[in-house]
C-alpha cells in the first residue's frame, strides 16, 4: 500500500474527531460513560427489583448471598437494585441542569460580548452578583422554597451555575467579533441576530462544548450533594440519596455508601476525561503531536 498524502481539506469537526479518536484516556472515558448509561437505561431488564423493597436481612455483606450481589442496606434493601435505578435521575438531572446552564450562560454572555456598552456592564454586574452567592447554599434554598422534583432541582442547579459559562461566552464573542469574517458578514448586510447566531456562535463553539462537558460533571456532583442532604425528590431513588440514607450506619457497613459513591465518581471521571479529550482535540496547538 502506497502512502499518498491526502491534500483534501478536512472540516474542523472531522479533524477534531480524528484527534479525539487518538486520545486513549478520552476513549476510556467514552467506554465508561457508555457502560454506565446503558446499565442505568437497560440494567433493570436483566436485574429486576424495587430499590425500596425490603428483601433480605439488613447489612448483608456483598458477595455472601448470590441473589443480592452488592449486599443490602440498613433496612435490608437490595443495593444492586438501587445502583441500577439510582443512576437514571442523577444522569437526567445532570444533563438537564447542564443544558439550562448553557442556555442561560450563552444567552447572557453573547448579548454582553456582542453589544458591549451598558448592556455588557449591566449583564456583567448581574453575573458578578450571582458569583457572590455560594452555589450549593443558593441551590438548597431554591429547592426548599419550591417543591423538590427532578425539574426544580435541575432548574436550581442551572440558575446557580451559569455565570462561568456567561463569562466564557462573552470572552469568545469579544474576541471573534473583531475578526474579518464578521466584518465581511456585516458588509453583505447581515443583521445582528444573524451575525450572533450564525457567524459568531458556531466559531465560539469549541471552548463552549468543552465547558458544557465539564458542566455536566459539576451538575452531577451537585445533584448528588443535594440528594445526599435529603433535599432531592424523596420519591426517586438516586445514588446520592442512597449515601445519605445510609450515612448513620457507615461504621457498621461500608458497602451501602461505597458503591453509590464509586458510581458517582466514575460517571464524573468519565465525563471529565471526555472533556479533556475534547479540549485537546479542539486546541490546534496540540494537534501536531
Amino acid at each position: 500500500m502506497t502512502d499518498t498524502p491526502d491534500y483534501k481539506a478536512e472540516s474542523p469537526a472531522r479533524e477534531a474527531w480524528r484527534m479525539f479518536r487518538r486520545n486513549v484516556p478520552a476513549l476510556v472515558g467514552m467506554v465508561i460513560l457508555a457502560f454506565i448509561v446503558l446499565a442505568t437505561l437497560y440494567g433493570t431488564f436483566f436485574y429486576s427489583g424495587d430499590p425500596y423493597d425490603v428483601v433480605w436481612a439488613p447489612h448483608e455483606a456483598p458477595g455472601v448471598t448470590p441473589e443480592y450481589p452488592l449486599g443490602t442496606d440498613y433496612l435490608g434493601r437490595d443495593i444492586m437494585a438501587g445502583m441500577l435505578t439510582g443512576g437514571g435521575p442523577t444522569l437526567a438531572v445532570g444533563a438537564a441542569a447542564a443544558a439550562i446552564t448553557m442556555v442561560i450562560g450563552i444567552a447572557l454572555g453573547s448579548l454582553a460580548g456582542f453589544y458591549g456598552g451598558w448592556i455588557d456592564n449591566l449583564l456583567m454586574r448581574i453575573t458578578e452578583f450571582f458569583q457572590v452567592l455560594p452555589a450549593l447554599l443558593f441551590a438548597m434554598v431554591l429547592v426548599t422554597l419550591f417543591e423538590p422534583s427532578l425539574w426544580t432541582i435541575a432548574i436550581a442547579i442551572g440558575v446557580v451555575s451559569w455565570p462561568q459559562t456567561a463569562r466564557l461566552t462573552r470572552a469568545e464573542f469579544l474576541r471573534i467579533k473583531e475578526l474579518e469574517y464578521v466584518t465581511a458578514a456585516r458588509a453583505i448586510g447581515a443583521r445582528n441576530m444573524r451575525i450572533m447566531w450564525k457567524v459568531i456562535l458556531p466559531n465560539a463553539m469549541p471552548p463552549l462544548i468543552v465547558s458544557a462537558t465539564l458542566t455536566i460533571g459539576i451538575a452531577i456532583l451537585f445533584e448528588a450533594g443535594l440528594s445526599f442532604l435529603g433535599l432531592g425528590d424523596p420519591n426517586v431513588m438516586s445514588w446520592g440519596l442512597m449515601i445519605g440514607a445510609n450515612r448513620d450506619y457507615i461504621l457498621d457497613a461500608w458497602w451501602p455508601v461505597t458503591f453509590p459513591g464509586l458510581a458517582i465518581f466514575f460517571t464524573v471521571f468519565a465525563v471529565s476525561l471526555i472533556g479533556d479529550g475534547l479540549n485537546d482535540a479542539f486546541n490546534p496547538k496540540l494537534r501536531e503531536r
Binding site: 450549593l136 426548599t144 448528588a224 450515612r247 471529565s272 476525561l273 479533556d276
Partner: protein, 325 residues
C-alpha cells in the same frame, strides 16, 4: 496602592451585599404561601398571635415596597430576624457558628494552595515525568470525587482501621472546659480530617493550574537569564518563576472561595462540624427561613470579603496593575 481604590472596592462590595438582602426578601415573597407562615416555619406550629406579631414586625400588611424598606432597614441595624425554631435571633445563632466555618474554610484554602502549588512546581520541572502524570491523574480524580463521599470514606478509614484522628465534632467532650493550648491542640486535632477532605478537590486543581502556569513561565527569557547567571535551581523555581506564575493561582483562589464555602457545607454535615453549614442544613430541614436567609447573607458576605482581599493582594503581587483603576 491607593486607598481610594480600596474604598471603591469596599463600596462595590456593600452594593453586592445590598443585592443579597433584596434577593433574600424576594425569595421569601416568591415562596408559595403566606409569607408570615413561611417566616414562622412549617415546623414551628405558629399560633395566631405569633403570625400577627410577624406581620407587625415585617410590616406584611403594608405595600411590598414598604416591606422591602423595613426589611433592608432591619438588616442594616444588624437585625436578621428571629429563628422561631431555635427561639433566638438569627444573628446570634450565626455568631456562635461562623468562627468554626471560617476556621475550616481558611485552613482548607491554605492547605490546598500550599500543597497544590508545591506539587505543581515539582511536576513542572519535568513536563513529561512521572510526577507530571501523577498530578494530571490526581487532578482529574480530585475533580470527580463527591466531597461528602470522600469525607465518609475517610471516616470509615480513620474510625475503624486507623483511629488516630477524631472523626466527629470540633472538641473532645472531656476537654470541653480545658483552656489555652490544650483546647487549641484539641480543635486542631479535630480539624485535620474535615480540612483535608475539603482541601483535596482544590488541591488537585491548584496542582494542575500551577503546573501549567509554571511551564509557561519557565520558557521565558528572564528564567534563562536567571539560569545563565548561575542561580540555583531552587532559587529559579521558587523565587523567579513562582512569583510570576502565582497570579493565575491567586485569581482562581479568589474565584474558588464561593465553591469552597459550598463544599464546607457538605463537609460540616458529614463531620458534624458545628459551623454555619450544619446550621443551614438543620434550618432547611425545618424550613426555618429567617435562619436560612441569614446563613445565605453571611456566606455571601464571606465571598465578598474574600474577593476584595484577592483584588487587593493581586495589585500587591503585580506592580504593573497598581497605577490603573
Amino acid at each position: 496602592m491607593s486607598s481610594s481604590y480600596i474604598l471603591r472596592r469596599v463600596g462595590y462590595g456593600l452594593i453586592l451585599m445590598l443585592g443579597v438582602v433584596v434577593l433574600n426578601f424576594l425569595l421569601i415573597r416568591l415562596a408559595p404561601g403566606d409569607p408570615a407562615v413561611v417566616i414562622a416555619g412549617e415546623m414551628g406550629g405558629a399560633s395566631d398571635e405569633m403570625l400577627a406579631s410577624i406581620r407587625e414586625e415585617y410590616g406584611l400588611n403594608k405595600p411590598v415596597i414598604t416591606q422591602l424598606g423595613i426589611y433592608v432597614g432591619n438588616v442594616l441595624q444588624g437585625d436578621l430576624g428571629k429563628s422561631f425554631f431555635f427561639d433566638q435571633p438569627v444573628s446570634s445563632l450565626i455568631g456562635q457558628r461562623i468562627g468554626a466555618t471560617i476556621l475550616l474554610v481558611i485552613t482548607a484554602q491554605i492547605l490546598s494552595i500550599l500543597l497544590g502549588v508545591f506539587l505543581g512546581v515539582i511536576a513542572a520541572r519535568k513536563p513529561n515525568g512521572v510526577m507530571s502524570g501523577f498530578v494530571s491523574v490526581f487532578a482529574t480524580i480530585g475533580y470527580a470525587v463527591p466531597v461528602f463521599w470522600t469525607g465518609i470514606m475517610l471516616i470509615i478509614l480513620f474510625a475503624s482501621v486507623l483511629p488516630i484522628f477524631p472523626v466527629e465534632g470540633m472538641q473532645s467532650v472531656r476537654l470541653r472546659s480545658a483552656g489555652g493550648l490544650t483546647w487549641a491542640l484539641d480543635v486542631a486535632h479535630h480539624l485535620v480530617l474535615p480540612a483535608f477532605t475539603l482541601a483535596i478537590i482544590y488541591l488537585a486543581q491548584y496542582a494542575r493550574l500551577s503546573r501549567a502556569s509554571m511551564l509557561e513561565v519557565l520558557g521565558s527569557d528572564y528564567i534563562r537569564t536567571a539560569r545563565a547567571k548561575g542561580a540555583a535551581e531552587k532559587t529559579v523555581l521558587f523565587k523567579h518563576a513562582l512569583r510570576n506564575a502565582a497570579l493565575p493561582i491567586l485569581t482562581v483562589a479568589g474565584l474558588q472561595f464561593g465553591n469552597l464555602i459550598s463544599g464546607a457545607l457538605l463537609v460540616e454535615t458529614v463531620f458534624n462540624w458545628p459551623g454555619m453549614g450544619r446550621l443551614a442544613f438543620d434550618s432547611i430541614l425545618r424550613r426555618d427561613y429567617p435562619t436560612i436567609m441569614g446563613v445565605l447573607f453571611f456566606a455571601s458576605a464571606m465571598v465578598v470579603v474574600a474577593n476584595i482581599l484577592t483584588d487587593i493582594s493581586y495589585r500587591w503581587a503585580d506592580p504593573r496593575l497598581r497605577g490603573k483603576s
